[in-house]
């Protein structure tokens, strides 16, 4: 009976409000509760913790916390862009700014907080901002675009994050802090000093002990700020990040109990002074404390969902750990537990390394046996381990400082086995070690992404991910499961290992590799992968007998299969340059074989709807006219796009077209773990979009800039600059090395971008290998590429010249007929495959050949 359901209204759809709704759904509340929420912001809940990434590479859509369809599918009513303006506690009714009135059985305030703007003269001048919402960031971005200097008022956590954002906008950035050091809540004097030095070395000016007295503007435009010590600072914009204040205005106006300095007072059940009203997240005040982090808010959401559903047995809120680890302007900072050694008798141990710019302090108990807290600046790798030692009161080693030397050696590091099951690993999402182990065991999880998805651990601030990973590895080891990167069930090796074996053993066929290193018959995963490795190593004709059965249908018929079983034909058009004569041939061939014709997204022409038996005939014509295979069907080099370059373009500084053609001809037919795309632009205007390619080249006055590992497609990624101002010989040398290095070491179906993202050591390492030849393999890599270049053949030319191969292209092995099931209709003057409905009509006139056997 729907009417017997109670109504829960959640005011505020921020991180914590949304988490509450998710928990309610997950715990089966929909049978008993109507869920309604009001969302003041113009968008549903998003990840405020990672807000700054909006300035780097995230869009508003990336930041959303709401699974698609979450509200609709679960019947939750959400009022986006509307806020509650009144609570009538007698009538148990709320009213929104848009005039919506709703009666509630229970009400939850999850209204968060607002940034505190100090009462300084001129603090509302245009050019002043706060840093809390996506809208705030949009405003900062827009104004920043026309500013040169930006100042952040506040040197705390958020202030420094904000400074980073301003810096990333290209502003000359300053931080003004009222206290004598940065991050006064988390850091002691030395820690603050080390951080300040680090941050200044990154080009952000830090001004401590500065009290701002006035913000000065001229002609309505902000120009400077004035300090109490009579000094001043010129600036175009100011962002206030001087702390937060709970949004308790609703609670205030309906008479709920508030703290002296604001905040809605709650008890262990997260109830306010009105038991029908709860408060959670940053608006709530527990034992005189506001919790300005997301994890405690999530704990409160957990408590409330439990209170509403489980009643008396429910969990209670008993305060939360405020330990934090952050990366501020690329500098790791962590502070946990009793960071200022306030516990009686507590001792401090510290290591300061002014060269590396690190400061690490441990606070230990009087007897030196327990860890009570600490501060880490510059290197916080030990944070996860230290936090666990502290929270689980585990005994310290005799020399606690050994915990502070790099943990990767692991000598002093804590082994996961010693942690109790109750240890909280992910504080953002309150996931314990026991829960992780149980999920790993019961759901048979073997990889980190799945574990994160199933437990939510590591999906908040991400700080616990290394620990989660260690636990996974340790559990799998215990279960005897090897975390494997095997190619498939037939080869107990990774692609990289097999590649090595294949080259070292000079193995030239799949069967030989299988006999030596594998089992069974192979499958659609290992066969094409090995086919590609053989091709890139020995460059044999792919339709030769031992190889033909390895190829995906596209490679085995040298064309792209379509949904109706016909193929598309894409001849190579190097650099996109084509003579009128050749264009005419393409038109004639298309006409003759009735092929649907389209210009592709990569500067060439695609002819669709070729039957398998027509392919050799079509290619006969194309090869005669001087075309060759475009390898659009292969995990191979596709195109090297080009812009018109200096020969015609008034801005071009180099001849990009000639280079593109040369590169396309050099690398044509090169098979690789995934497809390879390239482009060459004649100047920095970048009309060829080289920065979106696996390798891209941009002309400069002095030569060529080489970009690598870019990608369009499903997850676009900008290419990174590998080397600048190269002459052509060096460019080709680097490219040869880069491509073969990628081919040898990437996983199957891994584009260069994904490969790069996983490459340990990142860009520096890649530069060392490619440019400095740190592995001493450059000659070998170049030789392998030269072998490829020397042994290249056009697969289509070879095919049409080999009658036995041509025979493979008949539709029937025992009859000359074409596939009778194909059906087309006309659209915009060309043919296209008939839809299912159109087929029914067409089929009525055809015979039974087209119907499948049942």
């Amino acid at each position: 009976m729907p009417n017997s359901k109670q109504t829960l209204v959640v005011v505020g759809n921020g991180m914590v409000g949304h988490r509450l709704l998710e928990l309610m759904v997950a715990k089966g509340a929909l049978d008993h509760w109507h869920l309604i929420t009001f969302c003041e912001e113009p968008r549903v809940a998003y990840d405020r913790v990672h807000l700054s990434e909006y300035f780097v590479d995230k869009t508003a859509a990336d930041l959303t916390l709401v699974e698609p369809g979450f509200y609709q599918d679960n019947g939750i009513r959400i009022y986006v862009g509307d806020r509650i303006v009144e609570i009538d506690r007698q009538q148990q009714r709320v009213t929104s700014a848009n005039g919506v009135e709703i009666a509630y059985d229970r009400l939850v305030l999850a209204t968060g907080s607002y940034p505190f703007v100090p009462p300084i003269k001129g603090n509302d001048t245009p050019g002043t901002f706060v840093y809390r919402t996506i809208d705030d960031l949009d405003a900062i971005k827009a104004y920043g675009a026309q500013s040169r200097v930006g100042v952040v008022v506040g040197g705390g956590l958020l202030g420094l994050e904000c400074a980073n954002a301003l810096k990333s906008l290209g502003l000359d950035t300053h931080v003004v802090e009222f206290a004598p050091r940065l991050m006064p809540v988390q850091l002691d004097e030395t820690g603050g000093d080390v951080l300040k030095e680090k941050i200044e070395s990154l080009g952000v000016q830090v001004h401590t002990s500065k009290v701002t007295t006035e913000i000065v503007s001229e002609n309505g435009k902000l120009v400077s700020m004035q300090f109490a010590d009579e000094t001043s600072l010129q600036t175009d914009m100011i962002v206030f990040s001087a702390g937060i204040r709970p949004r308790d205005e609703l609670a205030r106006s309906c008479g709920l109990q508030l703290g002296d300095r604001g905040g809605v007072v709650i008890n262990e059940a997260c109830q306010t002074s009105d038991p029908k009203i709860y408060a959670i997240g940053e608006c709530a005040l527990y034992q005189g404390r506001i919790f300005g982090l997301v994890a405690p808010g999530y704990q409160m959401a957990e408590v409330v969902s439990d209170q509403l559903l489980a009643g008396t047995t429910a969990q209670q809120f008993t305060g939360a750990d405020m330990s934090t680890k952050l990366k501020l302007l690329g500098v790791d900072v962590a502070s946990f537990g009793d960071n200022f050694a306030k516990t009686p008798g507590a001792k401090e141990l510290a290591v300061t390394d002014t060269v590396a710019g690190t400061y690490k302090k441990l606070v230990v108990s009087a007897d030196g046996k327990l860890l009570l807290g600490g501060i880490l600046v510059g290197d916080a790798a030990a944070y996860g381990t230290l936090l666990q030692l502290m929270q689980n009161q585990m005994p310290l080693p005799t020399n606690p400082l050994s915990l502070l030397v790099p943990v990767s050696g692991g000598a002093a590091a804590l082994t996961m086995d010693k942690l109790p099951d109750t240890a909280q690993i992910c504080s953002c999402n309150n996931v314990s070690k026991g829960q992780l182990c149980e999920t790993i065991r019961e759901d048979g999880i073997t990889d980190l992404p799945t574990l994160k998805k199933c437990t939510t651990a590591g999906t908040g601030c991400g700080g616990c991910v290394p620990l989660v990973k260690d636990i996974l590895t340790s559990e799998l080891k215990k279960a005897g499961v090897e975390v494997n990167n095997h190619l498939c069930e037939h080869f107990p090796y990774s692609r990289q290992e097999l590649y090595h074996l294949l080259r070292v053993g000079e193995i030239k066929s799949f069967d030989a590799l299988l006999a030596q290193y594998g089992t069974g018959y192979g499958c659609e995963i290992c066969k094409p992968t090995v086919g590609s490795m053989l091709a890139s190593s020995w460059n044999d004709y792919v339709l030769n007998t031992p190889h033909v059965g390895l190829q995906d249908t596209n490679d085995s018929f040298l064309a792209n299969i379509q949904k109706d079983g016909t193929y598309s034909v894409i001849p190579r058009i190097p650099g996109g340059e084509i003579t009128p004569e050749k264009l005419i041939v393409l038109g004639q061939v298309a006409q003759e074989f009735d092929l649907y014709t389209k210009i592709t997204g990569a500067q060439r022409v695609d002819l669709f709807g070729a039957r398998v038996d027509q392919l050799p005939l079509i290619w006969q014509r194309l090869v005669e006219a001087g075309f060759e295979s475009g390898h659009a069907y292969g995990k191979a080099l596709r195109t090297v796009k080009s812009c018109v370059g200096s020969t015609w373009c008034r801005f071009g500084v180099q001849d990009s077209t000639s280079l593109a053609i040369e590169l396309e001809l050099r690398y044509r037919g090169l098979r690789s773990p995934h497809k390879l795309k390239s482009a060459v632009s004649g100047c920095t205007r970048e009309c060829a979009e080289a920065q979106g390619k696996d390798f891209g080249i941009i002309a400069t006055e002095n030569g060529w800039n080489l970009y690598v590992c870019g990608n369009g497609g499903m997850k676009p990624q900008h290419a990174i600059l590998l080397a600048t101002d190269l002459d052509k010989e060096t460019l080709i040398k680097y490219l040869d090395r880069f491509l073969v290095f990628y081919i040898r070491t990437a996983d199957k179906l891994e584009r260069t971008s994904t490969w790069f993202n996983k490459l340990e050591g990142g860009l520096d390492y890649l530069k060392q290998v490619i440019i400095e030849d740190s592995l001493g393999i450059a000659d070998e890599l170049e030789a392998q590429m030269q072998y490829h270049v020397d042994t290249y053949q056009c697969e289509w030319k070879t095919t049409i010249e080999t009658p036995e191969k041509v025979r493979r292209f008949s539709h029937f092995v025992n009859a000359d007929a074409a596939d009778p099931s194909l059906a087309y209709v006309q659209e915009r003057g060309q043919k296209r495959p008939a839809t299912e409905a159109e087929r029914v009509v067409l089929n009525q006139s055809q015979d039974a050949l087209t119907t499948p056997v049942q």
């Binding site: 069930e489 037939h490 069967d511 069974g520 018959y521 192979g522 499958c523 659609e524 290992c526 066969k527 094409p528 007998t545 031992p546 033909v548 059965g549 390895l550 190829q551 995906d552 249908t553 085995s556 018929f557 299969i561 949904k563 109706d564 079983g565 025979r807 493979r808 539709h811 029937f812 092995v813 025992n814 009859a815 007929a817 596939d819 099931s821 299912e836 015979d847 039974a848 050949l849 499948p852 056997v853 049942q854």
Partner: protein, 123 residues
């Protein structure tokens, strides 16, 4: 009533092609009566199998162009279009048991590949 289980004796064998016409570890498509039949040659001992050529997932006649192999010892062919796997012996789809391909009797006699057709199938 027509007998539903055919014995070898009641099968008519139609010769399709020489075994050599099928490259090792690949398939070909044959016209058998009015039907399209995919014939596969697999493994070091040249085992042969035959299934319908119609791919029920893409509705195209393409099964003969799939990659051959095994999953945990079960010989199979992967559809070249959306990669579903089918047991070569039973025709059952290994990724969705509710779907299957028809299977045909097939043998090699004097290096010639033959498909068995029952009277029922030829009408």
């Amino acid at each position: 009533m027509v007998q539903s289980t055919t014995t070898t004796d009641s099968i008519d064998w139609v010769t399709i092609c020489a075994l050599d016409a099928i490259a090792p570890n690949t398939g070909v498509n044959a016209l058998v009566g009015t039907e399209q039949v995919a014939i596969f040659r697999i493994g070091p001992t040249d085992e042969v199998y035959a299934t319908g050529n119609f791919d029920p997932f893409s509705n195209a006649f393409v099964m003969s162009r799939g990659i051959l192999g095994d999953r945990q010892g079960v010989l199979k062919v992967a559809s070249p279009i959306y990669k579903q796997n089918f047991d070569l012996k039973t025709g059952v789809c290994l990724d969705d048991e509710t779907v299957s391909l028809p299977v045909y009797s097939v043998r090699v006699v004097n290096d010639q590949v033959q498909i068995g057709t029952s009277c029922q199938m030829r009408h």
